[in-house]
């Protein structure tokens, strides 16, 4: 069952140096409960695409359908995780998760507590964001989005700023959440391993103009092993797709 449909999406930015074709004829579909990762070099339009789907930017040509109806504005149907946690610094963890919803309501309090357990931050409910590490804060941001029971969770390089160790831990947490809640995920990343490790489908984008160059299905069972030969095989397939772009550029764009 198709949940999200992107149909002939075009987006150009008018800049002082001329037109930038950030998105060029983007088409893809996302099934309910699917985990899709989007990978591509820096500046190929990944964030632009995600913002359009979120409804944060509606100055594009083409159509985006979520559950059959066209996306016009931001809504809690579409959870968005930014690259940084963006927590409200004056709210405790539990209040951040509840945000505009009343935490003193029993059902909400219960659900918040369940989510705090899910992201494994038991005991931190009344801590302020300044007392959290980057990974902990990002987990709170994920819980905040999950509380709204979004149809799709849009994640824009959510673990990009984390060290390798914390990042792989966060990947486990995210997979766990996905397996438990069956939330549809659209996950942007720079990291090929991360893209393969998480996804049912990897969308490969290329720059100038920003377009989809390939969609690769990853049929490996969970839990996956990065060192397994089938994993490495897919990795090679994807790397080959980047012939034109070459790996060096990918590494550069990852800011390593």
């Amino acid at each position: 069952m198709t949940l999200l449909e992107i149909h002939k999406l075009y987006k150009t930015f008018d800049t002082a140096k001329g037109k930038v074709h950030a998105l060029h004829d983007i088409n893809f579909q996302c099934k309910k409960g699917e985990f899709i990762t989007i990978i591509g070099p820096s500046g190929c339009g990944k964030s632009t695409l995600l913002k359009a789907i979120a409804g944060l930017d509606s100055t594009y040509k083409g159509n985006i359908y979520l559950d059959g109806s066209e996306v016009k504005a931001p809504s809690i149907d579409k959870g968005f995780i930014f690259q940084e946690p963006r927590l409200f610094p004056w709210m405790t963890v539990e209040k951040n998760i509840a945000a505009d919803l009343p935490i003193n309501k029993v059902e909400i309090k219960k659900e918040v507590e369940r989510l705090i357990q899910l992201i494994r931050l038991d005991g931190f409910g009344t801590s302020y964001p300044k007392e959290l590490s980057g990974g902990m804060a990002q987990r709170v941001a994920i819980a905040r989005a999950l509380l709204r029971n979004p149809k799709v969770l849009l994640l824009d390089e959510p673990f990009g700023a984390l060290d390798a160790f914390t990042r792989s831990h966060m990947q486990e947490v995210l997979l766990e959440i996905w397996q438990e809640n069956r939330t549809t995920m659209l996950f942007v990343t720079h990291d090929i391993d991360e893209a393969i490790y998480l996804a049912n489908k990897v969308i490969i984008m290329s720059a100038k103009p920003g377009s989809i160059s390939d969609i690769i299905t990853v049929d490996l069972p969970f839990p996956r092993k990065r060192s397994s030969s089938s994993f490495q095989e897919i990795r090679h397939i994807i790397l080959n797709k980047f012939e034109k772009v070459d790996e060096l550029e990918l590494i550069n764009s990852a800011g390593i």
């Binding site: 979120a54 944060l56 931001p74 809504s75 809690i76 579409k78 959870g79 968005f80 930014f82 940084e84 963006r86 409200f88 610094p89 004056w90 709210m91 945000a99 505009d100 494994r120 005991g123 931190f124 801590s127 302020y128 964001p129 300044k130 007392e131 590490s133 990974g135 902990m136 905040r144 709204r148 160790f165 914390t166 831990h169 486990e172």
Partner: protein
């Protein structure tokens, strides 16, 4: 998995809360108090000694003990309390009038750019006029009565709150505004959950500055023309060369200024404990 988790969690942050009650913390607090009080004590001792040894004339610079005696004397007669209460009433009424209007106006120009365009230029123009310079005008228009004094104090306390409320509202992080959009905050929730808390540090700063300004304006108003209040007490004492009474007045001003400031700081600490700033 669980092993990883152990490493990830910093050794429990919540212990901070218990540290407050530990003897080490108490000792540190006491030392901080000592460091703060050291200099004033040295100055007082030197002052007392130089008066005692006759280095300076008692009429120009009465000794701390003389001032203290005077303080007790005036307190017992009830004179001091009466003057103080009048000054307090004046400054508070002026502060509340000016501060309230400033909060409303600051919110207006902060939230609505049309209000900003039509209101702010005028307000900024008036702001540059020194408060004490308009005092003669107020006296001419409204006489020496309470009204002109309240008005003067209100004018002085208006601007810090106005400017800082405006700044605070406009300083809201656009990244957090995006979050509010994605989470579908209602207009009301946007104000109460995002804009007001984020502007709170500025608003509190405005209130603190404004209380100080109100205090200065009060002294100005009372020195210029008044028949009661701490300012009057000082002027009156000068005519009779009662230097110790002048000192008592000054000390009252200083003490009260410090107390109100500490009160605001206390609220700041309570309300802004979420902040993550350099603590020195």
């Amino acid at each position: 998995m669980s092993k990883r988790e152990e490493v990830m969690l910093p050794i429990n942050l919540n212990t901070n809360r218990f540290l407050n009650f530990s003897p080490i913390k108490k000792y540190e607090k006491f030392m901080r108090f000592l460091r703060g009080i050291r200099l004033p004590i040295i100055i007082l001792l030197g002052w007392e000694l130089s008066g005692y040894l006759g280095f300076v004339s008692e009429t120009l610079l009465p000794r701390p003990t003389t001032v203290f005696q005077k303080f007790i004397e005036l307190s017992i007669s009830g004179e001091l309390l009466q003057h103080f209460l009048i000054s307090l009433r004046r400054s508070l009424s002026g502060f509340f009038v000016g501060g309230f209007i400033a909060l409303v106006a600051g919110d207006l120009v902060g939230f609505f750019s049309k209000a900003e365009q039509s209101l702010d230029p005028t307000v900024q123009m008036i702001r540059t006029i020194p408060t004490l310079a308009v005092l003669p005008l107020f006296i001419l228009w409204f006489g020496f009565g309470e009204f002109s004094k309240t008005l003067l104090i209100a004018k002085a306390s208006f601007f810090p709150i106005y400017v800082n409320t405006f700044l605070g509202i406009r300083g809201v992080d656009s990244k957090l505004l995006d979050v509010a959009k994605v989470l579908e905050f209602s207009k009301w929730k946007q104000i109460t959950k995002l804009i007001i808390p984020s502007a709170m540090p500025n608003i509190l700063l405005g209130i603190r500055l404004s209380l100080g300004a109100a205090w200065v304006a009060l002294v100005g108003a009372e020195l210029m023309g008044s028949s009661e209040g701490v300012g009057y007490m000082i002027v009156d004492a000068r005519t009779f060369s009662q230097t110790s009474v002048i000192f008592v007045g000054i000390i009252i001003f200083a003490l009260f200024g410090k107390i109100t400031d500490s009160l605001i700081r206390y609220f700041e600490k309570r309300l802004l404990k979420w902040r993550d700033n350099f603590q020195g």
